[in-house]
């Protein structure tokens, strides 16, 4: 490791230092505002450091981490998303009169884990990043300890995540035992074979690793925890789980599979395809008549990851761009959706019932507009970035001639329309429920700004996505 490497590592360093600073500050002076301010400063510093690191791109820092433009882009994405979550959390936590300073620290460490993941080129960094992320999340979910739901969600997440970590690491061990390699580049030829005609142990190892990945991505059949955790977790944490945690893992997956071209008849491909189809079908069907908005978002995320896997399977540069673009779109959209949920939540409970949204268009016009835009984006309607994202995914699938997958995608996303529009109907058509205990304090200024900015993002890049696409193309181009 050289001093040059340290410059390359600046983003990670920034992300490491910031939680320490936040923690120390909290130790001396408990202030919610200070914690948030420090967090945002730290995240801003991370962003700045990305540009510094960008001057030295393409550098492999030890065998563990690669700081190419791809990694930097994703770190940037995760950082911005974290900042959004942090701001959205502010009024959510502020209303609840707890000491939320450590919350931001956990948020930052989780992001650090994610940042490690996206730069990871080795099992060690893979495992470490994942665990930093996971352990932070256990605590995050249960952090605002005032409702049993949170505990239940945290326990479920902890046990399942722990178990799958074990699967993951056992799989790594098996692969290592048989092949002696733990690097992404060493893994490439093994993956390329698509699990066929190899040592059973290696195949088993890879499958076990994929269990770990699949769990984090919440794809079928490792999806069962998702609705409970989304529902149980505080809304901003839900946003975080849905975006940063998944995005980081997906970025990692993309990197490991980048040099791999899977044969469409290979077992690995078929497994992925089956998982994708099952996720699209189950995710969309599960949400069909669901009345809990957070659960709907959870199921919708299962389905969305299914869509992503379609593009992922398409492989090649265009597919990588498609995955990344979709992911960016999904980040923005999900943050808006959860942001609205968070903004409308009261100290007593989160605004998660469909009834909470009845007549929202009358009581809170702009919040309703933002949520509607987000829902249409999830549904893939034009003028939103979700439309472009889905279009891109289908394009990638079509480019690789994955017809069966994209037809499933198309049909299941039609089912999706039904449940998204149910919420839209609740907001716009139904009358506010007079008897229900009203949710929704005033939407805080910070949250409002974030929601407005993200909604603008949804629309602007839905209409004119070219700059974003070019940015992503440049990022992806540096993958080895």
């Amino acid at each position: 490791m050289t001093s040059g490497d340290l410059i390359t590592l600046l983003p990670l360093i920034a992300l490491t230092v910031t939680p320490v600073v936040v923690m120390l500050a909290a130790a001396f002076y408990r202030s919610h505002a200070l914690a948030l301010a420090l967090t945002l400063v730290g995240l801003a510093a991370t962003i700045v450091s990305l540009f510094v690191a960008a001057t030295r791109t393409g550098r492999q820092v030890t065998p563990l981490l690669s700081f190419d433009t791809y990694a930097l882009f994703y770190i940037g994405l995760l950082t911005v998303a974290t900042a959004a979550v942090a701001i959205l959390s502010w009024s959510y936590l502020q209303r609840r009169h707890v000491h939320p300073e450590e919350y931001y620290m956990l948020l930052l460490t989780a992001t650090l884990g994610g940042a490690v993941l996206v730069a990871s080129t080795h099992f060690a960094s893979f495992f470490l990043g994942l665990e930093i992320l996971s352990v932070s999340l256990y605590a995050l979910i249960v952090y605002p300890i005032y409702r049993d739901q949170f505990v239940e969600a945290a326990v479920k997440y902890l046990v399942l995540a722990g178990a799958t970590s074990a699967f993951l690491v056992f799989g790594m061990a098996l692969v290592y035992a048989e092949t002696g390699t733990m690097t992404a580049s060493g893994l490439a030829p093994i993956l390329s074979a698509g699990l066929g005609g190899q040592d059973v142990v290696v195949a088993l190892g890879i499958v076990l690793i994929l269990v770990g990945v699949g769990f984090k991505l919440a794809v079928v059949p490792f999806h069962m925890w998702t609705p409970d955790v989304y529902q149980g977790a505080p809304a901003p944490v839900g946003a975080y789980v849905a975006t940063v945690s998944k995005g980081a893992v997906l970025a990692l997956l993309l990197r490991y599979f980048w040099p791999v071209s899977l044969d469409t008849g290979s077992s690995l491909f078929l497994v992925f395809a089956a998982v994708a189809i099952a996720s699209m079908v189950a995710g969309n069907l599960l949400a069909l008549r669901q009345d809990n908005v957070k659960r709907i978002l959870a199921y919708s995320s299962i389905a969305n990851l299914g869509y992503l896997l379609v593009a992922f399977l398409a492989a090649g540069e265009q597919a990588a761009v498609a995955v990344t673009f979709f992911l960016v779109a999904y980040f923005a959209t999900t943050l808006v959706a959860f942001g609205v949920v968070a903004a409308l939540s009261t100290p007593e409970r989160d605004a998660e019932s469909m009834d909470d949204y009845r007549g929202l268009a009358r009581t809170r016009r702009w919040t309703a507009v933002a949520f509607t835009v987000a829902l249409f984006s999830l549904a893939g309607m034009p003028l939103t970035v979700g439309f472009m994202g889905k279009f891109y995914v289908v394009t990638a699938g079509a480019g690789a001639a994955l017809w069966a997958l994209i037809i499933v995608l198309v049909l299941t996303s039609t089912i999706g329309l039904y449940y998204y529009t149910r919420i839209v109907v609740a907001m716009w058509v139904r009358q506010p429920d007079e008897n229900a205990d009203a949710v929704g304090a005033a939407v805080g200024g910070g949250s409002a700004a974030v929601l407005a900015a993200l909604t603008a993002f949804l629309i602007v890049f839905g209409v004119y996505p070219a700059p974003l696409i070019q940015l992503i193309e440049r990022a992806v181009a540096t993958l080895p």
Partner: protein, 102 residues
């Protein structure tokens, strides 16, 4: 001391891993569940050590250390959660935690 072959080591690890997993499936006590996860993680660690021995590299042992550290962190949070769990539900039965479903 005779060298243990790779296969034997891996089989042992696998058996341990399965024991842990089966325990996870069958036992309802949260603490036991955490213990089962520990068993699974340690099975993985064992496998790493065996693998490292095979390739004569320290990588396996390094990974084992990581696993160990991570398991410790996880248990720390897990036990803290168990306390909260007990406080809110009165028992440590994971099956009680089914308020959210559908």
């Amino acid at each position: 001391m005779a060298a243990v072959s790779l296969d034997h080591g891996l089989i042992l690890a696998a058996i341990l891993f399965v024991i842990g997993f089966v325990g996870l499936l069958t036992r309802r006590n949260l603490i036991v569940a955490l213990a089962c996860i520990e068993i699974m993680l340690n099975a993985a660690g064992l496998a790493f050590v065996v693998a490292g021995a095979r390739w004569g590299s320290a990588d396996g042992q390094v990974m084992f250390l990581f696993v160990l550290a991570m398991a410790a962190a996880e248990v720390a949070v897990g036990l803290a959660l168990a306390i909260r769990f007990r406080q809110s539900l009165g028992r440590l039965d994971v099956d009680d935690a089914d308020e959210m479903k559908g």
